[in-house]
């Protein structure tokens, strides 16, 4: 019997040593390595003359702006993925809805409008939180349904209208303030969304690593039942994750609406999938409880660089979607394989 015990422990040691190299590549550092590779790819393409606008100040700013917007949304999404609930698919409509509401409410001034938008966003998040946290609804199906219902509300109330901040605002000041959510630059350089992102990264990282909620979220995401048996209020923890996602979706919604200077139903389109892809590339597995905010930021950078290069290469929107989808499938597949080799068959 001693022999079998001995044998077991040597087997474990070998398994530890041979743990898939994939984990190492997609560790936090590895993600930034891949981001640097994309940067190099852009530079090489520029030098070889395939594209010619990559290494310009304007393009770098474009990348940073796009990354900021996606990053804001991905930060909240990361909490949902980390909690083991895959993704919040109601993000696109939450973005559109809160943007429209904000424009509509500009007639009461800028700050009241922003506050009302956040209330509306958190309301949508609250519905998700109750249904998924408390009543254990399937997160994918439920948030997909909520996405359609809120889309229906938008179409019902605003029909297909696009509403313009300068026409709705009570004063020029309110409309200018709204336009500046996206456009304001500190010292003429540092854009406001980028500041939002930096603050969010710091705050979210702290929340995930150092707070009671973060530790309990990790336990819940890793093993929901174990968390419950350890005295964690899993319903509350999951609810908070969805509320955080709704909050960043709202911030993203206001930013994207400010960017386009129009409140419209299509404003958040595509951000659900882009955000989840960034989160997953950033090393958070769909199984939950793994990865970090810093990793997700790396994932966002990769997506941003990739989108930019693809656009400069003249690849069409649909082809870009296809490529992003393929990459998502590849990463999730590799991740699943790597987890399975460690004796877990969900990813």
């Amino acid at each position: 019997m001693m022999q079998t015990v001995q044998k077991e422990s040597t087997q474990i040691e070998t398994r530890l040593r041979t743990q898939s190299t994939f984990n190492r590549i997609f560790s936090t550092l590895g993600v930034y390595g891949v981001a640097v590779l994309f940067l190099l790819l852009g530079i090489i393409l520029q030098i070889s003359g395939v594209i010619n606008n990559f290494l310009t100040a304007q393009n770098m700013l474009n990348i940073i702006d796009a990354v900021s917007l996606l990053g804001i949304v991905a930060m909240g999404m990361a909490f949902v993925t980390y909690s083991g609930h895959y993704a919040d698919l109601s993000v696109p409509t939450t973005m559109a809805l809160t943007g429209i509401v904000c424009v509509e409410m500009l007639k009461y001034g800028f700050f009241p409008a922003v506050i009302i938008s956040f209330i509306v966003g958190l309301l949508v998040g609250g519905i998700n939180a109750v249904a998924i946290g408390k009543f254990k609804a399937n997160p994918i199906i439920w948030t997909l349904a909520v996405n359609y219902v809120s889309m229906g509300v938008i179409r019902l109330v605003w029909v297909n209208k696009q509403i313009y901040p300068d026409l709705k605002a009570s004063s020029v000041k309110a409309s200018v303030l709204f336009d500046n959510i996206y456009r304001f630059r500190f010292f003429d350089k540092i854009a406001l969304p980028m500041v939002f992102l930096i603050i969010l990264v710091i705050v979210c990282h702290f929340i995930l690593q150092r707070t009671k909620f973060g530790v309990q979220l990790k336990l819940t995401g890793s093993a929901r039942n174990v968390a419950k048996f350890s005295g964690v209020n899993v319903e509350r923890v999951i609810s908070i994750a969805f509320l955080l996602c709704a909050a960043t979706a709202t911030l993203g919604g206001l930013t994207v609406t400010s960017l386009s200077k129009v409140g419209a139903w299509y404003n958040g389109a595509g951000y659900d999938f882009k955000a989840v892809t960034a989160v997953v590339i950033g090393g958070m597995t769909l199984a939950g409880g793994r990865g970090s905010i810093i990793g997700v930021l790396g994932g966002v950078l990769i997506i941003g660089l990739m989108n930019n290069i693809m656009t400069l290469l003249g690849i069409g929107t649909f082809s870009q979607d296809m490529i992003r989808g393929a990459i998502f499938i590849l990463v999730v597949g590799l991740n699943a394989k790597s987890l399975r080799s460690q004796g877990r068959d969900d990813a």
Partner: protein, 506 residues
């Protein structure tokens, strides 16, 4: 059907010689010889962990790495896959139903061999064949097209047997087939078994309800610690002798647990019921006491524990902690009040396998190590190191992922998690299930230390030596009731097992 009766060869139907199966950490079945004659019911008994279910799984072809020889009708065969077992005429009937509820009886019974007419199912043939199978278990009054969910539990159990018989087996293995049946239904089942016997089927009957074995079996084989102790004709042994063989070893080999004399009540439960699981439970537990709870599977032990820590709601009754009534809302609330529960399901409810030792051990302490919402993991480090040392968790590395520890060490981590929590009442549900003897000793020592320090331990265990050796008192639970309380002086493995079987006098 009559032709099968005549075709039976009387003689050795099934024989296993020196069969061994080892798992990491334990040898579950150790050089066991076992045989069944045609037309015989051979009972297989033993305590939990004795190797019954492993032996059964070997017969079912679940393992491809057992050693030893297996003969069917004196021909050597290898049972390295479930299909090999089926092909050799071995059919299993498991404790849990394996029928698909929404589909019809016919499709369940004939699964894998549905008759076809070119591309389509041959409904007529399906009906006939199903009725033939159902007749063998006396269910031919049922319409084969009825969905399984519309028939009663005991009918479903019989359909399961019909399904097995439909494959014309020569050996039928039944694992606790009566666990969901009433007395009357058990009688009907026995009648069917006797009929099958007459038709020359060899039947392996696994159960830990001794009265059933004496009612139906011809021979009985006793397993203990993976080894065969004896095979006896049922007519030549008494129940006491069988229990003696199951339990075996001299009691209290290792343990000298002092009886605590403190009589400070910590926990009092009055008329606690959760309908359908347990009823009218009353007991008191004192400071520094280890209270054993003994019962067969399904007696309601774990269900009681789950209610005590607020995982499930009670329907009636009150709970007092230090003489103060307590309404436990959820597990977090129970923990705040110092009541903790070590689950029997280590891998699904006990440990987050992907997290490391530190995160698992300190999981119950998250609220206590939080100040202003900020969690400080370092606060737990001294405690963590002490526990790793006390329980000799190997390797003593707090950053090791729990998944990468052996079973015994995982169980130690689980115990450490609750030892860390500074509890007043600790409910341990099978604290040493599936661990090797070394880890078991360590865990027992720690349990005794906790008791000595004044923690009230409620020990739910199917490991009789453990239960008898550690407990100051044993409460016997049967079919949802506490039927008896035994003091340490009257507890022997035999008396406890007999009492759990509803025998042995008051």
């Amino acid at each position: 059907m009559s032709d099968t009766v005549d075709a039976v060869a009387i003689g050795l139907a099934f024989e296993m010689k020196s069969v061994t199966k080892a798992f990491p950490g334990t040898v579950a079945v150790d050089m066991v010889d076992f045989d069944v004659q045609a037309g015989e019911v051979h009972a297989l008994v033993g305590e939990n962990g004795a190797g019954k279910s492993t032996l059964m799984k070997i017969m079912a072809g679940s393992f491809n790495d057992y050693t030893g020889d297996v003969f069917i009708n004196t021909k050597e065969v290898s049972l390295h896959s479930p299909s090999a077992a089926k092909k050799n005429g071995i059919e299993m009937i498991y404790q849990e139903l394996s029928l698909a509820l929404p589909i019809s009886i016919a499709e369940n019974v004939l699964v894998g061999r549905l008759p076809k007419k070119s591309f389509f199912l041959d409904k007529e043939k399906m009906n006939m064949e199903t009725l033939r199978c159902l007749k063998m278990v006396g269910l031919d009054y049922l319409d084969p097209m009825t969905p399984v969910e519309e028939i009663s539990q005991h009918e479903a159990q019989l359909v399961e047997i019909a399904k097995a018989l439909g494959n014309n087996p020569c050996i039928l293995v039944m694992d606790e087939p009566t666990s969901a049946l009433s007395q009357e239904e058990v009688e009907r089942l026995f009648e069917i078994i006797r009929n099958l016997k007459k038709r020359g089927l060899a039947i392996v009957y696994i159960s830990h309800h001794l009265p059933e074995i004496f009612a139906i079996a011809d021979r009985v084989t006793v397993l203990r610690d993976g080894k065969k102790i004896a095979t006896k004709n049922v007519s030549e042994v008494t129940r006491e002798e069988v229990v003696q063989m199951m339990v075996g070893r001299s009691v209290n080999e290792f343990y000298k647990h002092e009886a605590h004399t403190q009589k400070e009540e910590t926990l009092r439960v009055e008329n606690l019921s959760r309908f359908g699981f347990f009823h009218d439970i009353n007991f008191r537990a004192y400071k520094g006491e280890i209270v054993g709870i003994c019962g067969l599977s399904g007696a309601g032990r774990s269900e009681l524990a789950r209610v005590l820590v607020g995982l499930d709601d009670s329907d009636e009754g009150k709970l007092y902690l230090h003489d103060k009534e307590l309404r436990i809302k959820n597990m977090a609330h129970a923990l705040e009040n110092g009541i903790a529960y070590l689950t029997e399901n280590r891998k699904t409810e006990g440990l987050a396998l992907r997290l490391d030792v530190r995160e698992n051990v300190l999981a119950g302490l998250i609220p206590r190590h939080t100040k202003y919402g900020v969690y400080n993991q370092r606060l737990g480090t001294p405690l963590l190191n002490t526990l790793i040392k006390e329980l000799s968790i190997i390797p003593p590395d707090p950053n090791r992922t729990v998944n990468n520890l052996s079973g015994g060490n995982q169980q130690k981590v689980l115990l450490a998690k609750w030892m860390a929590c500074d509890t007043k009442v600790l409910i341990l549900d099978e604290p040493t299930r599936g661990v090797d003897i070394g880890a078991k000793m360590t865990i027992h020592q720690s349990i005794e230390r906790l008791a000595k320090e004044g923690v009230t331990i409620m020990l739910i265990s199917s490991d009789l030596p453990e239960l008898v050796a550690l407990s100051n008192r044993v409460l016997i639970m049967r079919q949802g009731h506490f039927i008896r309380e035994m003091q340490k002086s009257e507890c022997t493995e035999e008396s406890v097992l007999l009492a759990a079987n509803g025998e042995g006098g008051e």
